[in-house]
């Protein structure tokens, strides 16, 4: 066993060297038209070797390190689980806490900076996306790597409709969601028979197809130049701009007789996103307790057993795809309105990956976990802007650590407790 450990550790260290040295230790320098290869300074090379040593030591004593960490972690969680509260009481407390958080979220934008509110809106958009993807991946167990396509459909629906027909945000919101749902349904059909890796690859392809289509259909979508001038939402016909753009509308600050401030619009958008995110969460929460939600989970748990009990695989899978896409359409419409400008750049595979990462980090199927993870994944990179180059690296490391220590996610889904009356 120790000999095997040693071999494994040595192997890992060598791999570290092989990967790290060429990337960090060698530089390509341009001198005139020639490119020369130069070694990095001693400091970098020493660091690379040090890193290899760290990897070696960690792998050598991995079992011990993991064991003690595991012990510490389980100590933490068992403390809180020792006394199981009555399920009803717990559910009540939980719903009070959640209501409290939503009420707080309603008021805090009035006390913070514009940038913070803007960022919070983005978080809420990701919350919506992740909740929607959670239906597909977490509940129905269908690994979808092209989810961003539906987000793009929602965003482009609003952008195009407003550009060509002048339709407002509020009309476009349901339209965008419905169209995205339709796309979910149509794209769902060909992948019905696929599972696991195959499904992931095909959905990845779909995501790319939509993006490439948007990029190349220049006459309609403007291609890589994107679409600008997407209008802001209005509040009962009141606009938030300094001047009223559309006839028949009034402006918000004049109606209420307050000074114009760019912040009004940002806060308004935030509130819309908040309401929609809460709506999304509540609707999906209901779904989870309804026959459709149980069917999703049953299909994830055991497809053969589900079919033997009369569940149609087609109907169940398509419903998951369609409903998941619907909420992505919502998020897309809000996003388009928030940015005022969209281009295919915003809907690259990386977005799908981030949304998926939120679902996995948060805990498949768990709503609170997904909200926490959305906050973490969106805000942390903003806080640590200096490290933005390493964002993906940190991301990857976080994912690996999660998979090792808490594969069930930050807050694994808890099952609902159902009271039964004894029958005679």
């Amino acid at each position: 066993m120790p000999a095997q450990n040693f071999k494994h550790a040595l192997f890992c260290a060598v791999i570290t060297l092989i990967i790290a040295y060429p990337i960090l230790g060698l530089n390509l320098e341009a001198q005139g038209i020639n490119v020369t290869l130069t070694g990095a300074d001693t400091f970098t090379i020493v660091s690379v070797f040090l890193a290899a040593v760290v990897v070696f030591l960690f792998q050598l004593f991995r079992d011990n390190i993991m064991g003690s960490l595991q012990g510490a972690l389980s100590g933490l969680s068992s403390g809180s689980q020792k006394e199981p509260m009555a399920e009803n009481k717990r559910a009540k407390i939980e719903s009070w806490v959640l209501t409290g958080i939503v009420v707080l979220a309603l008021f805090w934008p009035f006390f913070v900076s514009r940038g913070a509110v803007d960022l919070a809106t983005l978080v809420l958009i990701y919350v919506m996306l992740a909740l929607g993807l959670n239906v597909v991946v977490g509940l129905a167990g269908l690994l979808d790597l092209g989810y961003v396509a539906f987000y793009a459909v929602g965003a482009y629906t609003f952008a195009l409709l407003s550009q060509y027909t002048g339709i407002s945000f509020w009309v476009s919101l349901p339209l965008g969601a419905l169209l995205a749902a339709l796309f979910g349904l149509v794209l769902g059909f060909p992948v019905l028979r696929l599972r696991g890796d195959y499904l992931a690859i095909v959905t990845l392809g779909f995501g790319e197809i939509i993006r490439i289509l948007l990029n190349n259909w220049t006459s309609l979508t403007g291609g890589p130049n994107g679409i600008g001038g997407i209008p802001d939402p209005t509040l009962f016909g009141m606009e938030f701009g300094r001047r009223v753009k559309e006839e028949g509308n009034t402006s918000f600050h004049e109606t209420f007789g307050i000074a114009y401030s760019g912040e009004h619009k940002v806060i308004f958008l935030y509130l819309i996103a908040l309401v929609l995110a809460v709506f999304t969460a509540l609707v999906i929460r209901r779904f989870m307790r309804m026959p459709v939600g149980r069917a999703w989970e049953a299909l994830r748990e055991d497809e053969i057993a589900a079919r033997s009990l009369g569940l149609s695989r087609t109907a169940v899978k398509l419903s998951a795809f369609t409903i998941g896409a619907f909420f992505a359409g919502f998020a897309g419409t809000v996003f388009a309105s928030k940015q005022g400008f969209i281009s295919p750049e915003s809907f690259v595979f990386l977005e799908s990956a981030i949304i998926l990462a939120i679902v996995v980090l948060g805990g498949m199927g768990s709503q609170i976990g997904v909200v926490l993870a959305a906050i973490a994944v969106t805000i942390l990179p903003e806080l640590a802007r200096e490290f933005s180059e390493y964002r993906m690296l940190v991301f990857g490391a976080a994912m690996v650590l999660m998979m090792v220590w808490r594969p069930q996610g930050l807050m694994p889904m808890r099952r609902i407790h159902i009271e039964l009356n004894k029958q005679d």
Binding site: R294, E297, A305, R307, S308, G310, H417, L420, N421
Partner: protein, 251 residues
């Protein structure tokens, strides 16, 4: 009720089931026995629609069902258990039973979101039915446990309860006694008889436990290497020379 005629199933070069015929009448327990690999589970898979048989006909309550998709067949009122227990492991015990009642529930999304009276009514009925069957198989106390955490014997019983909440006419059990201890097997024996007597369900049973089979079966079909070997009442089977040679003698 169930009438299988000349059923054949070929996997590439292997003829796993060859011209097997069997029938089950109302309120009857019919067993299928045979050595390992005889093709018993394959017969089940054909009847329940998981495999499309390469030959023969299967009719259930006067309707030809061969080639129909599995979920439609189960909706006709013929449900099965599996040789290796297949529960929805991460779902709770009640949830397992609710999934099974999917088609008895109001699956309209809007009705569910708004909790219309019709929706609640059906949901409550499903819960009551679940409670009834959990009580019947002695799992009521464990209703909110995750199914995957149950003991093996409990999982087996839950699988049967999950079939029964769908209110089937024909219940197909694939080796329900496998892995059970003698006391559990005795309970299972009583449960199956009571399903027939009290709930008017016919049972098609695959089982290796000979005492169970001989005790509760009305008729027995023996298959060997995919081919029908004999069929008849337990007494006839016990005295059939071919069967003794091929199967009972070795056991």
């Amino acid at each position: 009720m169930l009438d299988v005629k000349n059923l054949s199933m070929r996997f590439g070069g292997l003829l796993a089931v060859d011209q097997v015929s069997l029938d089950v009448k109302e309120r009857e327990i019919v067993s299928v026995i045979g050595p390992n690999g005889a093709g018993k589970t394959t017969v089940f898979n054909c009847i329940s629609g998981f495999y499309k048989p390469t030959g023969g006909t299967i009719s259930f309550q006067g309707e030809e069902v061969q080639g129909k998709p599995d979920y439609q067949i189960s909706r006709l009122g013929m449900v099965r258990t599996f040789q290796h227990v297949r529960l929805f492991n991460q779902m709770t015990v009640v949830e397992n039973l609710l999934v099974a009642q999917h088609r008895h529930l109001n699956t309209n999304l809007i009705a569910g979101l708004l909790k219309t009276p019709g929706y609640r009514d059906r949901e409550q009925k499903a819960l009551d039915r679940a409670a009834y069957w959990l009580d019947r198989v002695g799992l009521l106390e464990l209703a909110n446990r995750e199914a995957g955490n149950l003991a093996y014997g409990q999982q087996r019983r839950l699988e049967i309860a999950r079939c029964m909440v769908t209110e089937p006419n024909l219940l197909m059990l694939d080796e329900p006694a496998a892995g059970l201890n003698p006391a559990e097997t005795k309970d299972l024996n009583q449960l199956i008889v009571s399903l027939k007597e009290d709930y008017c369900v016919s049972v098609l049973l695959i089982e290796h436990d000979m005492s169970l089979v001989m005790d509760i079966s009305d008729r027995i079909n023996v298959i060997n290497q995919g081919r029908p070997l004999a069929s008849g009442t337990p007494d006839e089977i016990r005295q059939n020379d071919d069967v003794i040679k091929a199967y009972l003698g070795e056991a």
